[in-house]
Amino acid sequence: MGKTFTPLILPLLVLGMALVPVIGSRALVQDLFMVLCLLVLALNWNMLAGFAGLVSVGQQAFVGIGAYAMFASVILWGMDPLAGLLVGGLVAMALAVPVAFFTFRLNGAYFAIGTWVVADIARLAFSQWKALGGGTGTSLPKGAAQEMLGVATVRGLIGGSKAAAVDALTYWLALALVVVLLLASWAFLRSRMGLGLQAVRDNALAARAVGVDPLRLKALVFLLTAFGTGICGGLLFIQIGRISPGAAFSLLDWTAFVIFIVVIGGIGTLPGPVIGVLVFYGLERLLADYGTVYLIVLGLIGIAIMLFARRGLWGGFVQRTGLDPLPLSHAAPAAPAPTRS
């Protein structure tokens, strides 16, 4: 029954989300924009850590690189911020190549530390870029975001101020990114390569024995997630409008929160990050007035999940009910293989 249920409810949900800028307040749009961006980062990190077994603590490197490349495109090369997004993604992916060459030599826990060091190197290196404000950072030129491609169209569509139109546009882009990522992840994981990836995660030796090349698959995932994370970084900082090395390469904002989101929702499951980001948002609303208590609660929940329910809320749900609306596994073919015509 799950299989007929899912394809119906997803487009409806996306449609509802898409209507938020039309009917909701600006504050809500900005809030949900943040949630969607965190979801993009979480989907990427889940792909890395949950499926490819690459536990990175340095994804903030690619957020920062994407954001800085977008700022450079706009400020130094006079490009449109939307084109800057693409540049951000491409630069992040290009820089992921040397990063992979270094960090892939380290395995397991060493890899985590290696990526963390790389992210810190990136933060310190970008602090040296004087044209973009060095250590103190800089702002997008006045009006750059409001003159952005598509803002006028959006304004014609929903009315309101230019700033509200920018909010709506970035929100829709984030929503589109989430949808594309979800569909692409699902297609990828169900594909031959995705199957190989999960096989490597579950038993590397057995997977290699049947001809899966783990290194090639992992490198591919690393580069693609760097691309997605870089674009998301650019998008975040179009909305924020101001960049500094500390904010762009923040371990807490772009990696720690993301890890908690994935772990709470269910690492290594596709709906996990979605569930996780909902819980995260709820907790944030609930405990917004107690900054530090909020973080302590988040930490304790993360620990509890690892102790009592390793597969997170979604994994626990699937295990308990046996119901998996978004199955990633391929069922063994029933007696005779299904005929293809």
Partner: protein, 287 residues
């Protein structure tokens, strides 16, 4: 002469990093546990020393002696009650649990002690210096380096000369066979983490005595410590000392070139060593 001076300063700084790293190296070597909360536990140790000193009026050096058993008990409990449950083939659970622990400890300290930076009042020794051949060195930095070497010597003695150390090595090499010989890995691990936090307390003493500290500085210090452990080589305590010195010297030379480059040059030295020797300088165990 300025270069010699920088080198000596770097070695002293490296001593501090080696102290941060020694406990980490022990735990890492024995049970392959990456403790992401180690930096915050060191900061916790510094606050404990500060608290004991404030309440009793004792000198931080004496207060640290009182803090040692408390921190040992904390480490023992932490490993026995929490970390032992998540150790296994999969490296993800221990990473995430210690990561959560790091966030919890850091923010609990923030609530308890506010974000104000503190310093341990060690008295006149803080400002004293010794002429050592052509260079002059501060007494506290020198004491840090000497303590680091002593800690490594003592840990090596425990590791290679005692029954406990034999159990450590056996469990590190082959936990299943060690179990057959009547060793209980879980209690061995609890002892190891207890000892690691004793070393962390010594590190906390010098951390707090040499510079200001506040609840948020744990993770950055942890990163230097990890670099020392990794370039030293898994399971080699002398390697960890060497790793700490490499990072310290690199940072000192970086800072001499441009104050903004201190940390960056340290990281680059880490990358350079690993590019040449992916398993570190003196690897003992296989990972």
């Amino acid at each position: 002469m300025i270069w010699l001076d920088t080198l000596v300063q770097g070695l002293m700084l490296g001593g501090l990093y080696a102290l941060f790293a020694a406990g980490l190296s022990l735990v890492f070597g024995i049970m392959r546990l990456v403790n992401l909360a180690h930096g915050d536990l060191i900061v916790l140790g510094a606050y404990l020393i500060l608290g004991i000193g404030t309440v009793t009026g004792l000198n931080p050096f004496v207060a640290a002696l009182l803090a040692l058993p408390v921190m040992f008990a904390l480490g023992w409990l932490l490993q026995g009650a929490l970390l032992n449950r998540v150790l296994g083939e999969d490296i993800l659970p221990p990473l995430l649990v210690t990561f959560g622990l790091s966030v919890v400890v850091q923010n609990a300290l923030l609530i308890g002690f506010s974000a104000d930076s503190r310093k341990l009042p060690v008295g006149p020794i803080d400002a004293q210096s010794l002429p050592l051949g052509p260079v002059t060195v501060g007494v506290m930095p020198l004491l840090t380096l000497v303590s680091a070497v002593l800690v490594i010597v003592v840990l090596n003695q425990i590791f290679y000369r005692t029954a406990l150390g034999r159990a450590f090595r056996a469990t590190s090499d082959d936990p299943v066979t060690a179990q057959l010989m009547g060793i209980r890995p879980r209690s061995i691990f609890a002892m190891a983490t207890g000892i690691a936090l004793v070393v962390a307390t010594i590190a906390a003493l010098y951390l707090g005595a040499r510079a200001n500290f506040d609840p948020s500085i744990g993770p950055a210090r942890l990163l230097y410590a990890f670099e020392a452990v990794i370039i030293g080589g898994l399971g080699s305590l002398w390697g960890t000392l060497a790793g700490g010195l490499v990072i310290g010297v690199a940072q000192a030379f970086g800072a001499a070139l441009n104050p903004e480059w201190q940390v960056l040059v340290g990281h680059l030295a880490f990358v350079a060593v690993l590019l040449v020797r992916p398993r570190g300088l003196f690897p003992r165990a296989n990972d």
